[in-house]
């Protein structure tokens, strides 16, 4: 049957099992929107307030489900508005397919109205991108792009389709749903090398990140930790990967990680790293990081092996597949002395914990924990609130902590929460700050329109808290441009958008507010005041090593 390029775009997405698209129409993608009108019974489109919100929603959808998220935007500003969101997905290895319209091929290169070289712009922030110049290529390009986005180390892919290609007609042949590429197993000799290192270890530490979650290797990880009697820690991208209450789990490590987790990683004689990339927020000064420690590094992306820290044994393959091959080669052991050391570290962490009463960040997040179901997705923005969330939230189901790790995108949370709702159908939580929320709060409109039951916990301190913390510690309290001094009434703002809201100034009232918020089937904002001089602790100063860790701060 002959269809237009635009129809083929929508038909191919339906054929590939895509259920929902986030996006925003415009002149050069209007034909595709006409096709959406035609096929509206078979595929849902969510109209956001801004293209950035749409791409973050596609990202949140993908993170919460493990399926690819799809976003549409028009040419020019529509396409450039996607850039931050595509980069966010790229840095956190999230499968997102962005389809943009462009001016007709005859006008490409002439700087015509709303023409932009989006394949050029997104070259370094996509796994790959395509400029489609014939309607005949549309369907296969979409299939190839989806395969690429979800295979190996996942990531975003962009397809730019000029308007004349959307209009041109050609034959459409339906095809099967594309599958992920089968992972190539690691070399046997590497498995033997890894087993030798791990079997010789007295103080093993299992360290995982987002790659473990995308590989689906949670069970294998827990089996590994039990077999070699090792504590487990994670990067921020690993949060929610395994249940928080697992006795072996010490929590997130790194710049603002749990004391015991960071210390254990530092004291270990062997780190088994699963789907991580040893980012600077994890290692501090990488030349001082784990210098006496053996590192066994498993990652789907070979370029991550020995990129920032040298791996004694690097295995380029799927984490799950590799662990399955590795586990039979490992000796079942006990390390009572090492686990005694870990217990001491945990005790030291507990002793140093914030035990204040009242509306402290820790108490706020722990109060929220009481309202979360295992299936509730929690999205965050970026800053202090994000670190508190990563430190104190409890999870028992994977893909429930949705946060911008690599790029650290303020404004990510609102769109991501909407996407997570469409992905899971669950009541969703957004933890945000007044700084981050200010960046993309326009998506409240989207949440109201689509009746997204999102509970927005706004930790409001009137300052850009994370930057302020650095200014306090490293810049002699020069609070340059971090005191917001805004007069925004967030409750009225929520109401103006058609949502509900209330203000909270005590921990008792916070519980009651959560009762109402979680009972609401509409977006519900809780404006929760916190002190502007709260710190995220512990803190490893940027570029420092474990000796420089700040446990308590004199303000």
């Amino acid at each position: 049957m002959k269809l237009s390029g635009a129809d083929i775009i929508v038909k191919t997405l339906i054929e590939q099992g895509i259920e929902v698209i986030f996006g925003y129409p415009g002149g050069q993608i209007i034909n595709v929107y006409d096709s959406l009108y035609k096929y509206s019974g078979e595929i849902k489109h969510v109209l956001t307030a801004h293209e950035q919100g749409a791409v973050h929603a596609a990202d949140g959808y993908a993170r919460s489900t493990g399926r690819i998220g799809v976003v549409f935007a028009t040419s020019g500003p529509g396409a450039t508005n996607l850039v931050t969101g595509i980069a966010t997905a790229y840095l956190d290895s999230v499968p997102v397919l962005a389809i943009t319209g462009n001016v007709p091929t005859t006008q490409i290169g002439t700087d015509s109205f709303q023409e932009i070289d989006i394949t050029g712009i997104t070259l370094p922030i996509t796994k790959h991108n395509y400029f489609v110049s014939r309607a005949e290529d549309v369907a296969d390009t979409i299939r190839e792009a989806i395969k690429l986005a979800v295979s190996g180390r996942p990531g975003p892919v962009l397809i730019d389709v000029p308007k004349d290609v959307q209009i041109a007609k050609c034959e459409y042949k339906p095809a099967d749903k594309v599958e992920k590429c089968d992972p190539v197993p690691p070399k046997e000799i590497r498995i033997a090398e890894a087993a030798k290192i791990i079997n010789a270890s007295e103080k093993p530490f299992v360290y995982f990140g987002g790659g473990l979650i995308s590989s689906g290797a949670e069970e294998e990880l827990l089996e590994l930790a039990d077999k070699i009697d090792a504590p487990v820690g994670c990067s921020m991208m690993g949060v929610s990967g395994i249940p928080t209450d697992n006795p072996r789990f010490l929590g997130m490590q790194g710049m603002h990680g749990h004391f015991a987790s960071s210390m254990a990683m530092n004291k270990a004689d062997c780190i088994i790293a699963l789907g991580v990339r040893f980012n600077d927020r994890v290692t501090g000064d990488r030349f001082k990081f784990a210098t006496r420690t053996k590192i066994v590094h498993i990652d789907a992306d070979g370029s991550e092996l020995s990129k920032t820290v040298r791996a004694d044994c690097g295995l380029r393959s799927d984490v799950k597949l590799t662990l399955k091959m590795l586990l039979p080669e490992l000796k079942k052991t006990k390390h009572p002395e090492w686990n005694g050391e870990i217990a001491d570290l945990k005790k030291r962490e507990e002793n140093g914990e914030d035990k204040r009463e009242g509306l402290t960040p820790k108490n706020i997040i722990q109060t929220l924990n009481g309202f979360l179901k295992p299936s509730t997705p929690v999205a965050t923005d970026v800053g202090q609130h994000q670190m508190w969330a990563a430190q104190y939230l409890s999870f028992s189901q994977k893909r429930r902590f949705i946060s911008s790790g690599g790029l650290g995108t303020m404004g990510f949370g609102m769109g991501a929460a909407i996407g997570a709702y469409f992905g899971t159908g669950e009541k969703t939580v957004l933890i945000t700050g007044d700084g981050s929320f200010g960046m993309c709060l326009n998506e409240l409109a989207t949440a109201v329109t689509y009746k997204v039951p999102v509970v927005i916990l706004l930790m409001n301190n009137g300052v850009l808290g994370m930057v302020r913390q650095w200014q306090t510690l490293f810049f002699d309290k020069h609070y340059s441009n971090t005191v917001l001094g805004r007069k925004t009434d967030f409750v009225k703002l929520a109401e103006a958008f058609g949502a509900k809201g209330e203000r909270v100034d005590s921990i008792e009232r916070l519980s009651a507010a959560f009762e109402r918020a979680f009972a609401s089937d509409m977006p519900y904002l809780i404006d929760c005041a916190i002190d502007k001089d709260e710190f995220v602790l512990p803190m490893l100063p940027p570029g420092g090593s474990m000796e420089d860790i700040i446990i308590k701060a004199d303000k």
């Binding site: 050029g120 070259l123 370094p124 796994k127 790959h128 400029f131 690429l148 295979s151 370029s303 990129k307």
Partner: protein, 168 residues
């Protein structure tokens, strides 16, 4: 610091050179020469990269290249196992006072005189990079008007080829 020669087989697609060089730029790889051309198959282009760096850097360069979907195959070409060549065109002022010296030097290097006018002499020389450097250095004694060189191209000795692989 070592010099590595890396041969890369890429899908012959619009903008593929840009994808490769954009990656080099953003990760700040130190590339001293790069050449690209058609191959035995219309499906592929071949890029020869000369990279200056250490072993970790070279490994990282190869790994990052592998991540580009248009890259089909990569091979480091070791000096002793491959043949490399480069072409230079060099134009000099045809000064009668030193004309004989210039022509003698050209002859000594077996450079071909490809253009000759009252005011200029142009040589063409195909050799390895080192020999071309030597030739240019020698010519600096005279008045060089223009130089253009292609960058190294390289093939493995024997029957070995850059194997085609599927790359995701």
């Amino acid at each position: 610091m070592n010099r590595y020669t890396v041969a890369v087989l890429v899908r012959n697609q619009f903008g593929v050179l840009n994808r490769v060089t954009s990656m080099f730029r953003r990760r700040r790889f130190n590339i001293s020469a790069l050449s690209v051309s058609e191959t035995e198959s219309a499906e592929f282009s071949r890029i020869t990269v000369l990279f200056d760096g250490d072993e970790t850097g070279e490994q990282q360069l190869v790994n990052q290249l592998y991540k580009l979907p248009d890259v089909c195959s990569i091979k480091e070409l070791k000096k002793e196992e491959s043949f490399s060549a480069e072409l230079v065109l060099i134009k000099l002022n045809n000064n009668p006072a030193v004309r004989d010296e210039i022509l003698a030097a050209g002859k000594a290097f077996e450079a071909k005189t490809v253009d000759y006018s009252r005011d200029s002499i142009m040589f063409q020389l195909t050799a390895d990079s080192r020999r071309i450097d030597d030739f240019i250095n020698l010519m600096r004694d005279y008045e060089i008007l223009e130089i253009c060189r292609t960058g190294t191209i390289s093939l493995e000795r024997g029957a070995a080829t850059l194997r085609k692989i599927t790359n995701y």
